[in-house]
């Protein structure tokens, strides 16, 4: 297991089914002697999980025997839900969270979301803001299940 794999295996604390690589927030891992520098990017400007992710990465590397860890945050290029890997999107759907569609471009168009449980496209949005900054709340009008959807950003 490489040190990149060690870092990549760290889970996102709010979308527990995804690790930081699948979420698309892990930019770089560089090793210089006994020091490792990790570069990550926040999902939302105010994402409260960033501090925890940073400390989880430090712990994971310390457990792997790395003495010096520096976790840096970069903003550019900004994170987009398009950076969630295909495997990550499949894991979200399997966990009952509708994965984000592609970014609609510069025009802000609410896209329809498919129910992650029964697959029906007959869904309605209950709230544009959900349990975390990255999600909105939906309901399937076919199977009647409410579900979270990751917002395209």
């Amino acid at each position: 297991m490489t040190l990149f794999d060690v870092v990549a295996a760290v889970k996102d604390p709010e979308l527990r089914v995804l690790n930081v690589a699948e979420l698309g927030i892990l930019r770089d891992v560089t090793v210089d002697g006994d020091a490792v520098t990790v570069t990550i990017t926040p999902t939302y400007s105010g994402c409260p999980a960033m501090d925890l992710i940073r400390s989880d990465i430090e712990s994971a590397l310390h457990d792997a025997g790395v003495a010096r860890v520096d976790v840096r945050t970069v903003l550019d290029p900004p994170w987009s839900t398009d950076m969630i890997t295909a495997e990550g999107k499949a894991k979200l759907a399997a966990a009952g969270i509708a994965p984000p569609g592609p970014m609609p471009g510069s025009v802000f168009v609410p896209l329809s979301v498919r129910c992650p449980r029964c697959g029906s496209p007959a869904t309605e949005q209950l709230s544009r803001f959900g349990s975390t900054a990255c999600k909105s709340l939906w309901r399937c009008t076919a199977c009647l299940e409410p579900f979270d959807a990751v917002k395209a950003l």
Partner: protein, 249 residues
């Protein structure tokens, strides 16, 4: 106003807006709205933290984001008065959020191409979040304005109340103007036509009347001059840090 002052202005607008929006937490008219306002507050706080950190670095006196948020006095805050106004009823909060978020979206959009790369990087993230804030507040303003007689009356009263405070967003500052001409930052005074077009469209759909520009314009006073509302807000926001200097979670 210096370059640092400009960055602090953007940061403080977001910080004070975040603190005000956060006051709705557990008090919003419905559960979904409670979550929405808290999320928007969080976005604003995130931008504020990044810009305060940058302002501290530009200033070069070793002040951190916490030093700037918790240890400055009222007159040192550079936010516009619009964001510090009391939340009032829900219509006032939505009028404030509409006017602020349309302004922020325009400012962030144009900052991406400006010379200050730190602001550009923050703006590139924030503009996408701002689009949600504009969308959310627009929907409410239309829903209330074009709703019942009572909701229309209160939404119109909110627009009338908040409107005079919007002029400060576009106040001309000679240093910022020069920085804008040099392409370093976006001069907010250039944004009003685009802002007005966007706001007018929402107000028209909401069947609301925009107050005339000649009426009730507040006396010009720069950032740094505040209403009585800010002192109370800061007292609450800073009390823990001042009572227990250096306290950490």
């Amino acid at each position: 106003m210096s370059h640092v002052g400009y960055v602090l202005g953007l940061a403080d607008d977001a910080l004070i807006a975040a603190q005000r929006l956060g006051e709705w937490c557990s008090r919003a008219p419905e559960m979904e709205e409670d979550i929405a306002l808290a999320n928007i507050a969080l976005d604003q706080l995130g931008v504020a933290r990044m810009l305060l950190t940058y302002a501290g670095e530009l200033e070069g006196r070793g002040r951190t984001e916490d030093d700037l948020a918790y240890l400055r006095c009222e007159h040192e805050f550079r936010n516009v008065r619009l964001v510090e106004l009391d939340n009032g009823d829900f219509a006032v909060t939505m009028a404030k959020l509409l006017f602020l978020s349309v302004y922020q979206r325009l400012l962030y959009d144009r900052s991406i191409g400006a010379g200050d790369e730190r602001i550009a990087a923050v703006a590139a993230k924030a503009r996408k979040e701002s689009a949600y804030h504009v969308d959310h507040s627009s929907r409410w303003v239309v829903r209330l304005g074009d709703g019942t007689e009572e909701s229309h009356r209160r939404m119109q009263a909110a627009v009338d109340l908040v409107w005079p405070h919007t002029h400060q967003l576009f106040e001309v500052d000679p240093v910022v103007h020069a920085l804008g001409v040099a392409g370093v930052v976006v001069d907010p005074s250039t944004l009003r036509p685009a802002w007005l077009a966007a706001v007018d469209a929402v107000l028209a759909e909401a069947t609301l009347t925009r107050p005339g520009d000649g009426t009730a314009i507040e006396a010009p006073a720069g950032r740094g001059v505040h209403t009585a509302a800010l002192a109370k807000l800061l007292a609450e926001m800073q009390v823990l840090h001042r009572a227990h200097p250096g306290a950490r979670w």
